[in-house]
């Protein structure tokens, strides 16, 4: 197992975190969150990867074939669903912020309250 996927996962996590920290636009910030989320996909799938493994669907391959781990794929799918919900909710809140306060800048929201 090469170290490469771990480096990619760490990079995506770091880049996303930096984006969230420095963002001046809520939509950009939410996209940065999805960049962070991509690191979880990379890590999960690389953890279950087997060299020359096939997709774990035994309909058209012999049952003794080498396949990649189906569990992490199920986890990734669940992850996609769960986070899609969160992103949708966040975007809905941002739409409201834009509609009512005419801004998508996190700092502007804070200033407005002061």
């Amino acid at each position: 197992m090469s170290i490469y996927p771990y480096v990619v996962a760490a990079w995506l996590l770091g880049a996303g975190l930096w984006g969230v920290m420095s963002s001046r636009n809520y939509v950009h910030l939410i996209i940065c969150l999805t960049v962070m989320q991509a690191s979880t996909y990379v890590l999960l799938l690389s953890v279950g990867y087997v060299s020359h493994g096939k997709a774990p669907i035994f309909a058209d391959i012999p049952t003794n074939s080498v396949v990649v781990d189906p569990v992490v794929q199920a986890l990734s799918l669940t992850d996609v669903v769960v986070e899609a919900t969160i992103v949708a909710l966040l975007l809905a809140l941002v739409v409201q912020a834009n509609k009512r306060f005419n801004t998508v800048d996190p700092d502007a929201m804070t200033r407005m309250r002061e």
């Binding site: 996962a9 996590l13 975190l17 969230v20 920290m21 420095s22 963002s23 809520y26 910030l29 969150l33 962070m36 989320q37 690191s39 979880t40 890590l43 999960l44 953890v47 569990v71 992490v72 986890l75 669940t78 992850d79 769960v82 986070e83 919900t85 969160i86 909710l89 966040l90 809140l93 941002v94 409201q96 912020a97 009512r100 306060f101 996190p106 700092d107 929201m109 804070t110 407005m112 309250r113 002061e114």
Partner: protein, 604 residues
Amino acid sequence: MSQLAPLAVAVPLLGAALLIFFHALMPRIAAELIALAVATASLVMTLLLLIHVGHGLTVYWFGGWHPRHGVAIGINFAVTAVGAGLATFVTLLMVLALVYSVRYLDVRQPYYQVLMLTFMAGMVGFCLSGDLFNMFVMFELMSVSAVALVGYKIGEGAALEGGLNFAVINTIGAFLFLLGIAIIYAHTGALNLAQMGAALRHSGDDRAVVVAFTLLIGALLIKAAVVPFHFWLADAYAVALTPVCLLLAGAMSELGIYGVGQVWFTAFAGALGSHVHVVRAILVGAGLLTALWGAGMAMTEDHLKRLLAFVTISFVGVFLVGVGLLTEDGVAGTAVYVLADGFGKALLFACVGIVQHRLGKVGQHRLHGRGRRLVATGLLVTAGGLLVASIPPFGPFLGKSMIDDAAIKVGYGFVPPLVALTSALCGAAVLRAAARVFRGWGAVPRDPPDEADEDTEPETIEPHDRTPATMFVPAFALLAGAVATGVWSGLPDLAATAAHRFADFAGYHAAVFRTPRHLGPVSSGSPEWFDYLYGSGATVLAVALAGLGLWGERLLPGWRRVSTAATALIRPVRDLHTGKIGDYTAALTLGVGILGVLLTVSLA
């Protein structure tokens, strides 16, 4: 009987789905009654489950996929008395919160009820789950529902901002949790906690284990809002609808602490058990910092909901101290304290809701002396303040004594005075607020009023000249609960037995893999003389500090200098609460980094 475990989660989810589906056909009152009926059904189920679990452990395998040869094939609920007890407490608070919200104006049916039910399902599922990935899913279910409930008043900027901060920080927490799961799955090949624990027992303190532990604990501490991960909490709890606050402050924050205990005792105690003193020092240190930080901030807050939010943070710190001792005594004390303090804090939030209903504001500055006619509410808040100050012999005192004794047992003699100071400061903040609002005592604070109070309006239906029974009855029920936890003499022994089971990995593993062992009851020690000293000392100190906060300049000549110094001390801390996601994320990153470095360095 083990079928009750999945039903306690499935029934509220089904109820929520049916409400959404048929909402066009029913009037508001029908939606309210259905939600209440579903919550009550969950309460009955979790209570029966708790009784059924007793001294043992109830395991349910979804779809009948039982484990083979010590390998978990399916997903399970593994219910300890601690988990079932917490789930029962959650459902009880939900029933009271739904009664309380009958008069709420802003609750455009049935979305509010639907969100409350899914929120409850997530919390109950989190308590019962025996599988790490399932814990993540339940964690997210409760976060999503809670975010929507916090941001419910979309017309208010503060509510939108509180919801967004909450969502972003908790989502980052969820990613960390998932990364931790991926690493530990790669290492052990297990998602089931019992199987993972068995595998980790053989693997020792590998570096991957330390990284996974850091990520998982970091994520749970974000949910629990431990310093420096706590910034989102005050923004969110200050703007949520009051009935939602009952659940947030009474139970959700505590679930993060429960998760820390669950992950440690089932999975990681085996691998990192030889370094237990290091992990204990880190967790107790973080807990004490959080406790004092929250208490200090509570003293400075004008906005009553923000004040209570910081009291919540402070007590989460105390609970982290209790669980972080990593002994069964600590867990037992925390279990009692969570129950008693949960009732107390929910009571205080319920009273703030009544104040908001009657007077329309929640800032002490604006409310000064305006609550004179709300005698019963004033008395309830005073009772709540005394409970927070851990007045003997009630529930919070009992829980605090048990945590103190557990701390002394592991040689942490400095814990009891610091915890007593925390109770005193938090109690003083609440009592001072009660004296200002309900009696008009002391001068009007010199600081300008909190701007967030500017656009505060009643969240309830008119008329505002009297308090509806649906608000008063839950408040009294919460007070009764808080008192009962102290008076019911069987509780400490039950908590001790439950904690013994919670911390016993061998028993947990055996029950999950179908070789149950009998386990008898365990008895707990009763409070010692010094516990009464600390408890009554904290109460007296709370009353004294509240009095000094009101009339300090008249009573003590040098008080002004003391209070100026205290303000100067807390100001830099206060200035850190900027309300900006970027700052909060930076603090979070720093916190996880420090946690990781501390663990790596001290375990090397």
